[in-house]
């Protein structure tokens, strides 16, 4: 089983603080997706990282993919209450040419940003 370890599991911070969420595995990712799930809604894709060492920015969110493609991080600068939600990393299946279309999710990081 190709498990994803995500940390921290819970994070409660004040508005304006910075934070980082980590996603790690013992095996290489083909690619990794980050999702955000707001309370009472389904997860929404934030970004997909594919290339080792890749950095992607989405406004105040910075996503990094480790050089060895075994880890990824999400950094939020100057967090706002609207950033509150469950952040999930998910690895895509290795291409097999078969019928494996399942994502493997990390356990998630529940972020609360207090005003």
């Amino acid at each position: 089983t190709q498990l994803l370890e995500q940390s921290p599991q819970f994070l409660s911070i004040q508005e304006g603080e910075n934070l980082t969420v980590y996603c790690n595995s013992s095996s290489v990712f083909s690619s990794l997706q980050w999702y955000r799930q707001e309370p009472g809604e389904g997860p929404v894709l934030l970004v997909t990282v594919v290339t080792g060492g890749e950095v992607k920015k989405l406004k105040r969110l910075t996503f990094q993919f480790g050089d060895a493609r075994k880890d990824s991080s999400l950094h939020i600068t100057a967090a706002q209450p609207g950033d509150t939600g469950l952040y999930l990393c998910a690895r895509t299946p290795p291409f097999s040419g078969g019928s494996n279309y399942k994502l493997t999710f990390g356990k998630g990081t529940l972020l609360t940003v207090n005003p």
């Binding site: 083909s30 690619s31 997706q33 999702y35 009472g40 809604e41 389904g42 997860p43 929404v44 894709l45 997909t48 594919v50 469950l86 999930l88 895509t92 299946p93 291409f95 019928s99 279309y101 399942k102 994502l103 999710f105 990390g106 356990k107 998630g108 529940l110």
Partner: protein
């Protein structure tokens, strides 16, 4: 312009009374998924379809069944809901492979 629609958003049922949750998509994606999600946890995959090919997860209880009559629609049937089945049920679609999954807003199931 909703892409993955789930109905109803909230469903209340009684212990042991069968319930059906529905999902429809306008994306014409080959793959449709059903997940169970309990509070603040990651979604747990129950099963998925690639077109009409059904793929059940090994640990999905027999109490959970699914139907996909056509590309656009997929149903989750819970034959005899127990209190432990109270959860958010998420439907998702994708083209498969490395493509992202598009999730519906979920159905919150309460079992009385």
């Amino acid at each position: 312009d909703a892409m993955v629609i789930q109905n109803p958003r909230y469903q209340v049922t009684q212990f042991g009374k069968p319930v059906t949750l529905s999902c429809s998509q306008t994306l014409n994606h080959n793959v449709m998924y059903w997940y169970q999600q309990k509070s603040s946890q990651a979604p747990k995959l129950l099963f998925h379809y690639y077109d009409k090919d059904f793929n059940n997860e090994a640990d999905t209880p027999d109490n959970f069944q699914s139907r996909r009559p056509n590309t656009s629609f997929c149903f989750l049937d819970i034959r005899s809901p127990g209190l432990g089945d109270a959860a958010m049920y998420l439907c998702a679609t994708s083209r498969g492979g490395d493509d992202p999954q598009f999730f519906g807003p979920g159905t919150r199931l309460t079992v009385l």
